[in-house]
Amino acid sequence: MFRPLKKSFNLKKESKIDTDIKQTARRVYDAPNKGILWDWEVAGYIFTKAIAAGIIAFPFLFQMTGLVKVADSVLFTVAISSLLFLGLTGILLIKDLDQPKRFLYVLLRPNWTSWLVKGGYTITAFGGLVTLWCVLKYFDFPIIADLIVWPILILSVLLAIYTAFLFGQAKGRDFWQSPLLSLHMLLHSVVGGSAALLAASMFLPALMPLVPLLKEILIWSLLIQLLSFAAEFLSSHPTEDANKAAHMITHGTFRTAFWGGVVLLGNAIPLLLLIGKLRIAGCSRGLSFWY
């Protein structure tokens, strides 16, 4: 559902143009605003996609590199839940379209220059391979199953960061043109995945062996995440619009959502808790939602 320009989304504060009439040019007439076109569904599917990529990458990586012995049951649950999140991503993607019945056109009338198509094929390939892996594992063909684990891992990375390239193609949005965007998305996936696994480990004893390493990864990724925020918001941006967008996030309408939700709840508190040896890790998930 589309959220209209909320009253709280007060644009007057940001556009300093309108306040001092004398010096600067003043827009006195224009066509009506088109409102927000990409809404919570888009933010939603970035969030579910990051988790789908993250939760499968770590167990499989540990398994293949031998860092930690991972039971098959864990691999299975992780694969299934990743497919689940992938399904959720798909549903949100289709829901965001104004012509939902035509969603197949993305795959069947492909325009290969568009990252939406490449992304669509990535999701399809990733989903296909993971299902194939489950089937092979279930019917006990371990060797072939192991063979396709590496492609799955590579696809999971691509799955996590392809949206950055798509946003990069949206030239109308200066703020999305920043090269840091793919790094941000990767971090989302890492933080999201590890946090999800840690949270799941409270219910699934089988995940216990992975916990210490996951905590390590989560601490470091949260640190890097905070650094990336600093990099993004302390430095200036190439164009005025990007600066304004950054200003809106740090001081404007999204101020509370950013400092409160993303920085504090999403990163700082979990970091402290983790360093203080407690297990609450789910809240970092909030991070990617707001970003």
Binding site: I21, K22, V28, P32
Partner: protein, 251 residues
């Protein structure tokens, strides 16, 4: 002009207007109001049914220069009560540099209305209002609803994004018949103040007894016919539907 009892105007000259600065006390918030400027996209009262025209022009704020607004403490989009000789109307103010200081202006065409009992029409541009005659000659118009996006045969009706039905300013103007040309001198001397509590954009009040009095005052300045040899009107002047010759002479 000499023949028709106006010798002092026999040559091109300058007449001080009825809203000349001598009669305006600006510190009391008095201004000359220019109510006549038109918009390129509307027709007097017939573009209410043209959706694409109403979509372009759907506001008639009161134009005021920044210096006047600062002096009187008005901010952009404030609601003002504009008092005319025979009543008042409530309008939003548009503070701009494109206005001559000391003068305010409000555009024509906008402020159409329909009462609840009237047929539903011109939904693109009409406020729905109630008209009350509080006592005889004392008329009050209250805006019940601005322009609403509604369902209808034309699906564009549900996409109306403008809410502002504007204000019907002409109805609060007294008649000003120019003693010579007979022209209605449109400009009004008005006094501006912040809108009172309960005032809504588009509300207005008129006292028709007062307007009848103003009519009589202006009528008194006229210098009636007959002109030379009992003529009602100069024969060489244009006159729609010229009657027979003898009718030109007052018996």
């Amino acid at each position: 002009m000499v023949d028709w009892k106006w010798p002092e105007h026999r040559l091109p000259g300058y007449i001080k207007s009825h809203i000349h600065t001598d009669g305006i006390e600006s510190e009391k918030g008095e201004f000359p109001l220019v109510p006549t400027f038109r918009l390129p996209t509307l027709i007097h009262s017939r573009s209410g049914n043209a959706k694409w025209l109403a979509e372009i022009s759907n506001r008639n704020p009161l134009w005021m220069h920044t210096s006047d607004a600062d002096r009187l403490g008005f901010k952009n989009d404030d609601l003002l009560r504009v008092n005319t000789e025979i009543g008042y109307f409530i309008v939003k103010v548009w503070v701009t540099e494109s206005m001559r200081p000391g003068v305010v202006a409000c555009s024509h065409h906008i402020g159409r209305w329909r009462r609840p009992q009237d047929p539903v029409a011109n939904r693109w541009a009409t406020n729905s209002v109630e008209i009350l005659e509080i006592e005889s000659g004392k008329w009050k118009m209250n805006v019940l609803d601005g322009i609403q996006a509604t369902e209808g045969e034309d699906s564009d009706l549900s996409r109306i994004f403008w809410r502002d039905g504007g204000v019907h300013q002409n109805i609060t103007h007294a008649v000003h018949p120019d003693p010579i040309s007979g022209m209605h001198c449109w400009h009004q001397k008005v006094r501006l103040e912040k809108a009172h509590p309960g005032d809504r954009h588009g509300d207005l009040f008129v006292d028709t007894e007062q307007s009848f009095q103003v009519y009589k005052d202006w009528l008194a300045n006229s210098r009636p016919a007959p002109g030379p040899d009992g003529l009602r009107r100069p024969l060489w002047f244009k006159r729609p539907l010229k009657p027979v010759m003898e009718k030109f002479y007052l018996k």
